[in-house]
């Protein structure tokens, strides 16, 4: 694995992780996309050293075709998941006017209960 590739993976993964920590769904999606690409590169570098194209009938040392097949599958899956998330972000925006990821209502209610010393009120 060359230093450049390793550094690229590190930058992509780092930026992706930073973006996923946000509250806005759009940023999370961008982060997940970057993380996915970092990992695709990681798969690609997990093969052996580069060589000839793995085509039947050719001579020479071939590249391992398996990582390429894996990356192709991972890209397709990532594409599907990200389009679903984008649809969800759009839906959240049509409902709320923003795409913030909110706290769970019951979690918040329970946290308030413990703050106020167990006031069992109506669930909000």
């Amino acid at each position: 694995m060359s230093i450049v590739q390793a550094a690229l993976i590190a930058v992509l993964a780092g930026t992706g992780t930073y973006l996923v920590m946000h509250r806005t769904l759009t940023r999370i999606i961008l982060g997940l996309g970057l993380l996915g690409n970092a990992i695709n590169l990681l798969i690609l570098t997990s093969g052996d050293s580069p060589g000839e194209a793995p085509i039947i009938g050719r001579e020479g040392a071939f590249t391992d075709p398996l990582p390429q097949a894996l990356v192709l599958t991972a890209i397709v899956i990532g594409f599907g998941v990200i389009s679903f998330l984008l649809a969800m972000a759009y839906r959240a925006w049509t409902i709320d006017g923003n795409d913030e990821v909110e706290d769970d209502i019951d979690d918040r209610r329970l946290a308030q209960q413990s703050d106020t010393g167990g006031d069992y009120g109506e669930p909000t």
């Binding site: 894996l70 599907g80 998330l85 959240a92 109506e122």
Partner: protein, 493 residues
């Protein structure tokens, strides 16, 4: 025989495609879905019988030799899980048809459900790590759709957490797969045990931990469970019944599979600690809640702890206990959510403050709740008792006193939180007081839902009744799971 194995994936996948084509006619969709579910259940039973007779079977797709082919492997363990899950999927499909809620009337329900079925079957049968990831993705994608089918405010809110966390889980899993491939040059689960054994200890531990994080998130073990009780209650009852019964158990299945097959001799103290914490935190969460669905969701987490405890203890007897526990837990948990679905259908709410006195209105419904509830708490003579007894005995044999103490205490607390549902929803005076004609036959108002629930509860009773033979079968399944050579020899002939 091995020709049947791909069918159990192909049939529901075809079903998903055909239900999509038949999107204009709901009746056609329903008929196709039922036919596919029945066929899948029948095929998986046939596989179970065949595998029990002939031993582990592998289907090499594309006709390549076992080392490089995409393998689908069925041993007694995976065939057992396949049979339980496909019968549960069939039962819940019928229940959803009986419920006639808005989500089932959606045109996308049946295609997504069929895809879920294919993903579940694929995950149980996958013979290499990357395909395991792909089938996980198939079932997750279907579960995203089912969870957010109505697209209302609550579903989008909880769906976001669920989807994002599961995407992160998938990314961790692919990272683990990439690193395992980089370290060993193969992803074939039959080829991996030897090659992993040749790696330095530190590398092996790192790979093992990455896989555990990925599957642990799916199985909702201790530090990684917070997504579950937020997302499952938002789904419609039949959907959360399927999720509760099956999806976390696929994570547990993957943990058992990888721990016994790929990392057989590792020290599992960390896993034991995680198991203990999962049990305790899960049940404490359940006690704090006041909504039926959320209490039941937290119970899933604490029950996962028992299964992980079996894996962590290791050895044939402990894996047998884990497999039996999974076998009993899937129908028990599903039936509890099915009962909850009837309550919610009838009263329009699952919050304990708003539901009351159901036992007065319908004794049979109360019984349908009590049987799986007692089973979950591990009271004899129900099926949970056998599973818990097996896990606890194994803990005593291995002198892990503190985990046994935790397991017993958690059983007691499970009972306490079940009592909370009981006193809240079933005991006391009905609210509002039932009208003259309404007082009898809550179950009779929802005949199909009730029939399915009765059938699933009866199945849990049968597990208790035939615990002896079933336990012996689980022992054979555990032998298949723990003996690496039977697996590798079946795949690489």
């Amino acid at each position: 025989m091995s020709a049947l194995i791909p069918l159990v994936i192909a049939v529901p996948l075809t079903g998903a495609a055909v239900t999509l084509l038949a999107i204009r006619s709901r009746t056609t969709q329903r008929l196709i879905a039922i036919a596919c579910a029945v066929a899948t259940a029948a095929i998986s039973i046939a596989i179970l019988i065949g595998v029990d007779r002939d031993g582990t079977q592998a289907a090499a797709l594309g006709g390549w030799p076992g080392r490089i082919a995409i393998n689908l492997v069925a041993d007694r363990f995976s065939a057992l899980m396949l049979t339980v899950s496909s019968t549960m999927l069939l039962a819940v499909l019928l229940y959803a048809l009986g419920q006639r809620a808005d989500d089932e009337r959606s045109r996308w329900y049946h295609p997504a459900y069929m895809a879920l079925m294919a993903g579940v079957s694929g995950a149980f049968l996958a013979g290499d790590l990357f395909n395991l990831f792909v089938w996980f993705e198939v079932l997750l994608m279907a579960s995203y759709v089912l969870l957010t089918l109505e697209g209302n405010d609550g579903q989008i809110r909880s769906g976001t957490t669920y989807v994002v966390l599961n995407v992160v889980e998938s990314l961790v899993l692919v990272t683990a797969v990439a690193l395992i491939f980089a370290a060993t040059g193969t992803l074939n689960m039959a080829d991996l045990p030897d090659r992993l054994a040749a790696l330095p200890d530190g590398v092996r531990l790192g790979l093992n931990l990455l896989l555990l994080i990925a599957f642990g998130l799916k199985a909702a073990v201790f530090p990684l469970f917070s997504w579950l009780p937020d997302s499952y209650p938002a789904a419609p009852s039949p959907v959360s019944a399927v999720f509760a019964g099956l999806l976390t158990k696929i994570g547990v299945y993957a943990i058992v599979r990888t721990q016994t097959l790929l990392f057989p001799d590792t020290n599992r103290t960390l896993l034991l600690v995680i198991a203990g914490l999962t049990m305790v935190i899960g049940v404490l969460g359940a006690i704090a809640q006041s909504d039926m669905k959320r209490i039941l969701s937290f119970h899933i987490i604490s029950q996962i702890g028992y299964m992980i405890m079996g894996v962590a203890l290791g050895g044939l007897a402990a894996i047998t206990a884990t497999i039996f526990y999974m076998l009993h837990h899937i129908p028990v948990k599903t039936s509890l959510f099915l009962v909850e679905g009837i309550v919610e259908r009838d009263t329009g709410s699952s919050t304990l403050d708003r539901v009351s006195g159901l036992a007065r209105r319908s004794g049979p419904l109360a019984a349908l709740f009590l049987i799986p509830a007692f089973s979950l708490a591990g009271l004899p003579p129900f099926s949970g008792f056998v599973g818990k007894l097996a896990v606890v005995t194994e803990g005593l044999d291995q002198r892990s006193w503190w985990i046994v103490a935790a397991a017993l205490a958690v059983s007691l607390m499970t009972l306490v939180s079940m009592l909370k549902i009981w006193t809240g929803a079933f005991w006391g005076d009905p609210d509002p007081a039932p009208a003259e004609g309404q007082s009898r036959g809550l179950l009779r108002q929802h005949p199909l839902m009730s029939a399915v629930t009765v059938a699933v509860v009866t199945a849990t009773l049968c597990i208790a009744l035939f615990a002896g033979p079933l336990y012996r079968f689980c022992e054979r399944a555990a032998q298949d799971a723990t003996r690496v050579t039977t697996y590798t020899e079946a795949v690489i002939k």
